[in-house]
Symmetry: none
Subunit: 201 residues, 4 copies
DNA sequence: ACGTAAGCGAGACGGTACGTCGCGTCTTACC
DNA sequence: GGTAAGACGCGACGTACCGTCTCGCTTACGT
């Protein structure tokens, strides 16, 4: 189902897939992913229902492929050298700009309207790209208490982004990036220090 | 559909509802809420499908009522006087003990297998009871930056609990409560102070 | 799918099945069995398509059951004592009257508009009841040349009935029965005699 | 769709049509005409489905054209002068030899596996060629009772041929031709005589 | 002999019917 | 009144064929 780069894609296929994606996004924003039917999508895209199945297994498959297309924009990013409360990594800003660009989609996806399986996957993707920003900083931690701190930091960061998206991005990406950077730095420099970690004492 | 306290419940009705609840919980743990069907539940409970609809509107209604029964155990709690890094509020520990007691159910509910609508509701409930522990501490914050911090703290705390449940409660509730208490205190005393808040500077 | 005699049939079920049968017959006469769709039938019967599948596997199953109902009228008939050119067996007349009664249906079934599998089955049924009239006469023939004669007689008789039905029964059943009786007698007394049979000489 | 004799056929076209016919016959014998799909045929012929539609309208068209090719072998035959119980018309033998040659195909076509529309057509063709053998004999009958007798004789003759094909031609064509000749003669000389005809008396 | 018209492979597309599944409503009979 | 049994309308599902179409590649034919 993912023959993106097999020679040149048939223009009819490209058109069809784009129309389906477009209809899918619109309808997801309008009524939520769970309430969507394949019929809804194809009617909006003004094509036959059977055509949908020639390109996607089901609506989950469509979403997967769409997310893949979005996330492919962030492959091969590298984290900055070190965590620094005063220096915001540029690719963190890029990530937030990306979220802002597809704000409607991500807001719906990360909030209450999306199937949990997919939210899970999207969080994982986010995690991967998000933490690549700080990969070197986190890589040398002891794993036992780190696991909790890491997951909490992730949850908190996602929470911040969701909060930001739900309120239609009240701050510019740079400002939120600064906040997140400081938050993560604080998590690192205070409560995450093993000798101060209340767990394991 | 919520005739819980109408005088004394007919014993047949009580039996039926308990069997349905039991079947519901088992199946939710086994295959996740989203994959459940009413037929699944009634077959497991060995009763006719139409009987289900005599008691519940649908599986969401059953879940709601079940959660209500669980959460009724935590009504009317009060938060402690002040946030204190060295004194863990007892009702925070109680809450975690409650989560531990119904660990299977909450793990499934809060992780990937639950319908987002319900997860939303459950998080709200958690939030309500969770933050009642710290209500007085948080009540005097300025609302602009507070909103973000509050939500992030909530997301992080939920993340910690989910992490704890997903790993089958690797620490006793008291230890996690201590960690959470310190975490929230740190959020309060450092990054949340308005003059240090990078947003708005 | 054939619970005809389980206690008393639910009146709703009875009504539904009768409506479906009625619609089926009408449409078969109108446009032929092969061109029928389940949707056609249920639309004509003014009910939901899924209701059809609660009673029948498919249109073939409906036809089978309908034919069973028709043929059950002729179970347990006995053939006459001997073939006699001047005495027409009464049950042959009964059979033709039956065909006449459901003339539209049988005409369509036995002519070009019906699926061959079904025509086959109907011919077999016809054969069974038709030749029970002459069972004793035919039972003592030598089997080698008899097989051919028997099949040819059957084909000819069916041909006569089809001819009669296609022309909207130009003669009364009694007259056709007389003709058939004489035809079968002639087949018996002349060309079927082994010593005159050109095959095997 | 029938450009058989336009100058010389393109060898590619000829090859394609032959492959399709071959696949069609094989599959008809294997699983019956009704169960065939165009996809089946083209897959067996190892060509693209769209190529099929370049040559035929549908599977019925293919069958028609194939039958035309077979029957063209019997055009322009003449019946013998008179019906004679001792002299078998040579073209009747030829016809049976033809059936024998394509025995598999005709057996399937004339038995239960063929679409009724086509069987109808094939019977008509058979009738045409079959009775051309006896055209002069039958041409002077009074039409009223003749119609029935004619049809019955046809049905009986077809029945005999089907019987013969279904049992893999247990007799040589000459022997069956003799039987048929005598049968038709008997039909003519006895039961068909108007004054003995029980119908109309 | 070679350019051009055809046959052909590949496959997208709009359609229509299929048989299945789950929903929520309803009725009847039993206890 | 609660329950079992189950018919029914509804509507989405994913599949299978159908017949049409467009696009390039290859192959035969005509001048």
């Amino acid at each position: 189902m993912t023959q993106k780069s097999e020679a040149v894609e048939d223009p009819r296929v490209h058109r069809t897939r784009k129309l389906l994606q477009q209809a899918f996004i619109e309808l997801t924003v309008e009524k939520g992913f769970a309430a969507l039917t394949v019929r809804d999508i194809t009617e909006r895209a003004m094509m036959n229902r059977s055509t949908f199945y020639r390109h996607y297994l089901d609506k989950y498959d469509l979403l997967e492929q769409y997310m893949d297309e979005l996330f492919v924009l962030f492959e091969d990013r590298e984290g900055i050298a070190n965590l620094n409360p005063n220096e915001v990594p540029s690719n963190l800003i890029d990530l937030l700009k990306h979220f802002q660009q597809f704000g409607d989609f991500y807001r719906v996806m990360l909030t209450a309207k999306i199937d949990p399986f997919v939210e899970q996957r999207l969080r994982q993707k986010t995690e991967k790209h998000f933490f690549s920003c700080f990969s070197q900083t986190f890589s040398d931690r002891d794993s036992s208490s780190f696991d909790l701190s890491y997951n909490v930091t992730l949850a908190a960061s996602c929470g911040a982004i969701v909060w930001w998206l739900e309120r239609e991005q009240p701050y510019p990406p740079e400002q939120l990036a600064r906040w997140l950077n400081k938050f993560i730095y604080d998590m690192y420099s205070s409560s995450l220090k093993p000798n101060e970690n209340p767990i394991g004492e």
